[in-house]
């Protein structure tokens, strides 16, 4: 009697969990931390052009890396696509990617925007730069990231939270340039100048500057582009710091071929296509970013922000120094 019902139920649960999935035809499978609305049009274009189907699933970087690691050699993923060099560096560090020899990729992606060991390649570029109120700041007053710690910016600086990887990479690059001790002084000086506690996102930083809570901040270029597209009347402008020195801190979204890819050739072809002249605008423009391929011009709206000198240090340094950067920011009280 009463034994049967729950027993059956248990049995059913076990049986149901064994239903197999049908195998699929040749295709490229992508694990992506870059969002669906930014990559779907791209993959659809690729399929139209080549007939190769691209299947993808999105998630945050951390879970995606863990997923790859747990699946080991049985993973279905051929390509890992993610944002921020730190995450790409980590994927390579954990042995989740494989080196790729491709003349096309070497020609399309500048050296400082790809892994020195060719395990991953930048595909779009974003700069983390200064944004200021055109009503209360003259561009001549601005110079470098470090200078935002000077006394004239007391109570005028606004920052995004240190939890965000973009700030961790920025501080990582500062460490690469100045060393830990000097960077910690810089960050402490920033914190002393804050007009409000750090915000959850770049948009909030810019809106607070527009509203007058502060006068200057640090943001990614595409956030600025998207906000100004919606609200062109906002009195905000970008400034390219450190043009006499090392240049603007840049970061990438990029991809690599997974170590246990079943279709590595298909994966490499997809990466080559993504870095090619025909796809670069499609890739970068969708998010108001810069193409990495130097032969491709950015979208007119993006080009209008002016040209700038990029920091030539390889972006993978940001990954190596990420842990150090977080510790430093925690010590300096940067929340």
């Amino acid at each position: 009697m009463s034994v049967r019902f729950p027993l059956l139920l248990s049995l059913l649960l076990v049986l149901l969990s064994l239903v197999p999935v049908a195998a699929q035809a040749e295709e490229v499978v992508v694990y992506s931390a870059r969002n669906e609305h930014l990559i779907r049009p791209l993959f659809e274009a690729y399929t139209r052009e080549t007939g190769v189907k691209v299947t993808f699933v999105t998630d945050k970087e951390g879970p995606l890396l863990q997923r790859l690691k747990s699946e080991g050699r049985n993973t279905r993923a051929d390509v890992l696509l993610t944002v921020d060099a730190g995450n790409l560096w980590q994927a390579a560090e954990e042995g989740l990617l494989q080196p790729v020899t491709s003349a096309a990729l070497a020609a399309n992606v500048p050296e400082h925007l790809r892994d020195p060991g060719n395990q991953w390649f930048g595909l779009s570029l974003r700069a983390r730069t200064l944004v200021y109120s055109t009503e209360r700041v003259k561009p001549e007053e601005l110079s470098t990231y470090e200078a935002l710690g000077e006394p004239q910016w007391k109570g005028r600086l606004l920052l995004r939270t240190s939890q965000k990887v973009y700030n961790q990479s920025l501080v990582g690059m500062l460490i690469a340039e100045h060393g830990v001790e000097k960077t910690e002084q810089i960050v402490r000086a920033w914190i002393a100048n804050l007009a409000a506690p750090p915000f959850a996102n770049d948009n909030a930083v810019m809106e607070a500057i527009a509203a007058g809570q502060g006068d200057v901040g640090i943001v990614n270029t595409y956030y600025f582009g998207r906000l100004l597209k919606d609200k062109p009347e906002l009195p905000l402008a970008l400034f390219w710091p450190d043009q006499q020195g090392n240049g603007v801190h840049v970061n990438v979204s990029g991809a690599g071929v997974t170590r246990h890819a079943r279709n590595p050739q298909g994966a490499i072809k997809l990466l080559e296509w993504l870095s090619s002249e025909q796809a670069q605008n499609l890739f970068a423009d969708a998010n108001m970013e810069y193409p990495v391929n130097p032969r491709v011009a950015p979208h007119a709206d993006v080009a209008a922000w002016g040209e700038f000198k990029q920091n030539p240090i390889n972006v993978s340094r940001a990954g190596e120094l990420q842990g150090e950067a977080i510790k430093l920011m925690d010590r300096a009280g940067y929340r």
């Binding site: 009463s2 729950p6 027993l7 248990s10 999935v21 747990s70 939890q163 990887v165």
Partner: protein
């Protein structure tokens, strides 16, 4: 009893007669199906918890040292504030509103009775985003404020401890409200009338009779709220408020140390486990069974300012927790409609609803069987199993998702190896990326919110009812179906509603375990908000809220009858 250990430990008065009636029927008592099922479900939850616990084998001393030196003091304090603040405020809001709508009469009571549940459909992170957007310096409220009172006019800081507590409490009070209302509605007025006949006033009746009688339900609701608050990442990160959970994510995504993250998370589970044990010890050996009687016939008619005060209070809570954010979301959704809407939305909506329904059914059924197992076997082992099975809710979603995924992938890998070495086949992973696994993962996560209401309802089934049924020859499944199920219907519906809405809002497990192409509304919200596109995210968020409203309204209509 054929199991001597449970005979000696079974002191719970409501269970004793039951066990007595069964003696001699089972030889196979220990591996009785009910207990076997409890064991199976507990195992399902224990595996991810064990994965998290095993992290202690991989030391992460330098991260711990760093945390101790810099953040630990603040985030412990912040977490403490969150527990006290959100626990206290949801208790206050949930119980008072439940009391008014369940036992009093005031203008608009029928409407508020179901409408006060609406915030359940509003994800906490959405509420947080709307409030920070509206009330922070750059938002419309403060902008207007400055125009009226000058640039330096004082305004309370929104991104602050009280701000987080308030927003989270507004989002989470429905758990307490729902369970407390259930309790007040089913406890009947007899005890209260008896108290009145002994000279208790209305206030005394509430504090000395009704409240203690509703305690398991209220405690269950508050516990759910605390688990949600402790595991929340979305809302606290919008406030940039450091808690234990933000440290977990920092360890994982920042230091790339999953083991440090899991170690921190295991402490969170331990904390919740202690809360559960302490609460249950405090009310051990009380019985809460009452016969459903003339529950609604004699409501307390509030008069004059009391009546309007009750309406105003309920109205304000509803306005702030649901009205304002819903209007803001609608405005954004309208603005983003042309850019964002496409036919794929029907697929997203359909999958969200299908997963929600399937999970609600699965969790409801499991909770029922589990609660029944706990009722039939009051021995420490089964009770411990039932308790453990409820702990999945205490982990931050992403940590639980990984805890589920690691063993899952290991099983898959082992199966593939086997197939390869025995049959020379190169198989694809069998388990990963199947909807069944997704549903099992939801079961692990949402068993607690499903179990609490069902178990609460189970308390209402008196031993005398069982005995009467037994005397008329009803046993086992027949007893469950014909006698218990009708009595448990309210609890089951509550469970199904909560789980349905919770599953639709859930992100990390959905993201990690979904089959290719199985995007849902929550996935869409994640995609857009991860890129800061909150206005575009209003469209899927609105769709999610609307889909969540349907069961809430149906459920409350049903419950009011």
């Amino acid at each position: 009893m054929s199991d001597p250990s449970s005979a000696t430990t079974n002191l719970s008065p409501e269970r004793a007669p039951l066990a007595g009636a069964r003696s001699g029927f089972f030889r196979l008592n220990f591996w009785d199906g009910w207990r076997l099922f409890a064991l199976l479900v507990a195992l399902l939850v224990v595996v991810p918890l064990a994965v998290v616990g095993f992290s202690w084998l991989t030391p992460a001393a330098d991260i711990w040292q760093h945390l101790r030196q810099t953040l630990l003091a603040r985030l412990l304090l912040n977490t403490l504030w969150l527990v006290l603040g959100v626990g206290g405020l949801t208790l206050l809001l949930g119980v008072s509103l439940a009391w008014f709508t369940a036992t009093c009469e005031f203008p608009g009571r029928r409407f508020f009775s179901w409408a006060l549940l609406l915030p359940l459909a509003m994800p906490t992170y959405v509420l947080a985003f709307v409030f920070v957007g509206l009330l922070d310096y750059a938002g419309p409220v403060q902008t207007l404020w400055r125009e009226w009172f000058g640039r330096d006019a004082w305004f309370p800081a929104v991104r602050s401890t009280p701000g987080v507590i308030l927003v989270m409490s507004l989002a989470l009070y429905p758990y307490v409200y729902l369970l407390a209302k259930n309790a007040f509605q089913t406890q009947g007025r007899r005890a209260l009338e008896a108290a009145e006949s002994l000279g208790c006033g209305a206030r005394e009746g509430f504090f000395r009779v009704a409240l203690p009688m509703a305690r398991p339900w209220i405690a269950g609701g508050v516990l759910l709220v605390l688990m949600e608050a402790l595991a929340d990442f979305g809302a606290v990160s919008i406030f940039n408020y450091d808690t234990f959970t933000t440290a977990i994510y920092k360890a994982w995504f920042g230091f790339f140390s999953l083991s440090a993250a899991a170690q921190l998370a295991s402490l969170l589970v331990l904390l919740v486990f202690l809360l559960v044990v302490v609460e249950q010890r405090l009310r051990a050996r009380r019985r809460f069974a009452t016969v459903r009687s003339s529950a609604h016939t004699t409501r307390l008619h509030l008069k004059g300012w009391r009546a309007w005060g009750a309406s105003f209070f309920a109205g304000m809570v509803l306005l702030v927790a649901f009205g304002i954010p819903a209007v803001q979301l609608s405005l954004w959704a309208l603005g983003a409609y042309t850019e964002e809407f496409n036919l794929r939305y029907f697929g997203l909506l359909g999958r969200s609803v299908a997963l929600g329904l399937a999970a609600a059914g699965l969790v409801g059924l499991t909770a029922l069987v589990l609660s029944y197992a706990g009722r039939r076997h009051a021995d420490p082992l089964t009770r411990a199993l039932v308790r453990v099975a409820n702990l999945g809710y205490a982990l931050p979603g992403a940590v639980l998702a990984v805890g589920i995924f690691i063993p899952l992938a290991a099983v898959d890998n082992a199966l593939i190896e086997l197939a390869e070495s025995f049959f020379g086949l190169r198989l694809r992973p069998l388990l990963q990326g199947t909807v069944v696994i997704m549903l099992l993962a939801y079961l692990v996560r949402f068993l607690a919110p499903g179990f609490k209401p069902v178990d609460g309802a189970m308390h209402r089934v008196t031993p005398s009812i069982d005995e009467a049924a037994r005397l008329s020859g009803l046993r086992g499944v027949a007893l469950l179906a014909r006698v218990h199920l009708p009595m448990l219907r309210g609890g089951l519906l509550t469970a199904a509603t909560i789980v349905f809405v919770d599953v639709m809002k859930e992100m990390p497990i959905t993201l990690m375990t979904r089959p290719f192409g199985w995007d849902t509304l929550a996935v869409k919200i994640f995609e857009l908000t991860a890129e800061g596109e909150w206005q575009r995210a209003a469209l899927p968020a609105m769709a999610l809220v609307l889909a969540g409203l349907v069961p809430i309204i149906l459920f409350m209509r049903h419950a009011e009858k």
